[in-house]
């Protein structure tokens, strides 16, 4: 299978004018403007195959959105190269633009005062869809996104969840082969999040579309993506299966035990790091290698009523990645 996206050493510096405080500073900067370069993306290389659904993770300001903007052609990189669907994105060739879509959860392309349907008609014209294709695509999107009667209501009267789904429909009407989703579930309630997630999954499966998705919501990533790319301070930190991220970065597991009679948690320190002790139940963080020994010791020396061993939750791992770098 051909690569849908390929980047090599992709780098982006932002130039921002340095502003001195005060009126005089403003006048001075008119004539002698100083700039500061900030590296937002730093030599990132990866490859995504056609039809893959990849999670793109990183803390705020890690460079996720900047990367998506380069891949959609909005930004030109400072260095490095990228191709998407065989095109150099920032050349903004019409063929390329017809095959992609960029959805930013916090930005809207819908016309505010009039029903979403009108924006769809505009996109039909922009992307040159025949009436038959338009009908077919629209009917499917309406059904998948459960849009129904919302299409005839002015956009400003829609709830955030309804609007986000209408936004997705507008972005997918031309059936892009490459979909870049930036925080598609931001601000939505749990039920809406689930709907959007299910939709993304179906869209990926049904049309074999390549999807790259950023999200702060770990549930999105866990439910949708087998593969994740993690960046931190613009650098690629991890690229691989989600499961392996767990093995690689979670060097410990969680051991939880309930006792029949209270024990002194201080005595349990030698078995692992005590996270919590409450209602005669202890939660310990135990290094992987030491797990069997700790569990055995616990069973041997304490009145254990119940015991279980768990993997660390993914969001904990990612949080750890972001805080420790």
């Amino acid at each position: 299978m051909a690569a849908a996206i390929e980047t090599k050493g992709l780098t982006k510096d932002y130039r921002s004018p340095l502003k001195e405080p005060g009126l005089w500073g403003g006048v001075k900067s008119l004539f002698d403007r100083q700039y500061k370069d900030t590296r937002a993306v730093d030599g990132v290389s990866f490859q995504i195959e056609e039809g893959e659904l990849v999670g793109f993770l990183g803390a705020n300001g890690a460079g996720k959105t900047t990367t998506l903007k380069m891949l959609s052609g909005l930004l030109t990189p400072t260095a490095g190269s990228a191709t998407a669907l065989g095109h150099v994105p920032w050349k903004r060739e019409s063929d390329f633009q017809r095959s992609i879509s960029l959805v930013m959860g916090q930005r809207s392309q819908l016309w505010w005062e009039i029903p979403a349907y009108e924006t769809f008609k505009l996109n039909q014209a922009i992307y040159g869809l025949s009436e038959a294709d338009f009908r077919e695509h629209l009917d499917e999107l309406v059904e998948l996104l459960d849009l129904g009667e919302h299409l005839s209501v002015p956009v400003k009267k829609l709830s955030l969840g309804q609007r986000m789904r209408a936004e997705l429909a507008a972005a997918l009407l031309h059936r892009p082969r490459l979909l870049l989703l930036d925080e598609p579930t931001i601000g939505l309630d749990v039920i809406m999040q689930k709907k959007v997630r299910e939709f993304v999954k179906v869209y990926n499966k049904r049309y074999g579309a390549t999807i790259m998705l950023t999200s702060h919501n770990m549930t999105d990533v866990v439910e949708l993506c087998k593969r994740v790319i993690v960046i931190e301070k613009g650098r690629l930190l991890y690229d691989g299966p989600l499961d392996r991220l767990v093995e690689r970065y979670a060097d410990h597991k969680i051991l939880r035990a309930r006792f029949t009679t209270p024990v002194d948690p201080a005595d349990l320190k030698i078995l692992g790091a005590v996270i919590k002790y409450e209602d005669s139940t202890i939660t310990l963080e135990v290094p992987r290698a030491q797990m069997a020994a700790s569990a055995a010791a616990l069973l041997r020396s304490y009145p254990v009523a119940d015991l279980n061993v768990e993997e660390v939750a993914i969001d904990d791992i990612v949080r750890r990645l972001f805080t420790h770098g």
Partner: protein, 264 residues
């Protein structure tokens, strides 16, 4: 082409949807016309002409202003400034779409509504003053005037587009746009005929594209210029339009490039 036609229809719908904004706009414009009218009538007093304008001509100038303001000076500059500074422009830049064509279609929709309203208002005023208007009898004058106004509105569109595009570089491009539009209306003759100004200043302004937007077209309408002179004015206007178009496109392209380089 279909894209722009659909965009025009949608924008028309939206303009009509925002009835209260539309009504406010019209009331504001109408107030300007009425005050200009009263002002000139007071100045003319019992004189037969004032600054070379008869009463009927001055009244026509003022009423024509209302229509020209609606056709020439209704732009979307503020929207472009807003779309650039909020980053909404991105959603156009990733779609296979010419932003100028799109903006022009939206602009035309707004003009359609405003011109219709302006004709209604002018009709009302004309009834109130019971005729007393100067209407050229030569159909050629109407044609020349029509062409002039068409060019004017394109000239304004690209001038405004150019100034609004400065938002790509500065976060405060609302300021320049505001100053520019105020100066433009003055220099175009949208507050008073430029004959009011000292000759030197008038000559200086005539060397800019601004008087081609209101002053010259109205002079053509009032048959204050010979047909040959009218054709020369149209020629100059076309040259200005070409120059402003080229400049606006250059600024826009550079703006988009800088937006792509610096991020939005």
């Amino acid at each position: 082409m279909k894209t722009y036609w659909v965009a025009y229809q949608i924008a028309l719908q939206e303009t009509l949807q925002r009835r209260s904004t539309l009504i406010m706009d019209r009331l504001g414009g109408f107030a300007v016309v009425v005050s200009l009218y009263s002002f000139w009538i007071a100045l003319i007093g019992n004189k037969a002409t004032f600054l070379g304008y008869t009463r009927a001509e001055m009244l026509t100038y003022v009423l024509a202003l209302n229509i020209l303001r609606s056709f020439v000076f209704t732009g979307r500059g503020w929207q472009l400034v807003g779309e650039i500074s909020t980053g909404k422009i991105s959603s156009y830049l990733v779609r296979p779409l010419s932003y100028q064509g799109y903006a022009l279609a939206l602009d035309l929709a707004q003009k359609t509504v405003h011109v219709a309203a302006a004709f209604f208002e002018v009709g009302l005023l004309a009834l109130l003053v019971r005729g007393g208007l100067f209407l050229p009898s030569d159909p050629a004058t109407w044609i020349l005037f029509g062409v002039a106004v068409l060019l004017s509105s394109l000239l304004f569109f690209f001038l405004e587009f150019m100034v609004s595009s400065l938002a790509f570089w500065t976060s405060e491009s609302g300021g320049p746009l505001f100053c520019f539009e105020l100066f433009l209306q003055f220099a175009a003759g949208a507050f008073f005929p430029l004959d009011v100004l000292p000759l030197a200043l008038r000559r200086a302004l005539e060397a800019t594209p601004f008087p081609y937007m209101v002053y010259f077209p109205v002079r053509i309408f009032l048959e204050k210029v010979s047909p040959v002179e009218a054709l020369r004015i149209l020629g100059m206007e076309a040259l200005w339009l070409a120059a402003v178009y080229a400049a606006a496109m250059t600024v826009w392209r550079r703006g988009v490039r800088s937006y792509a380089a610096e991020g939005g």
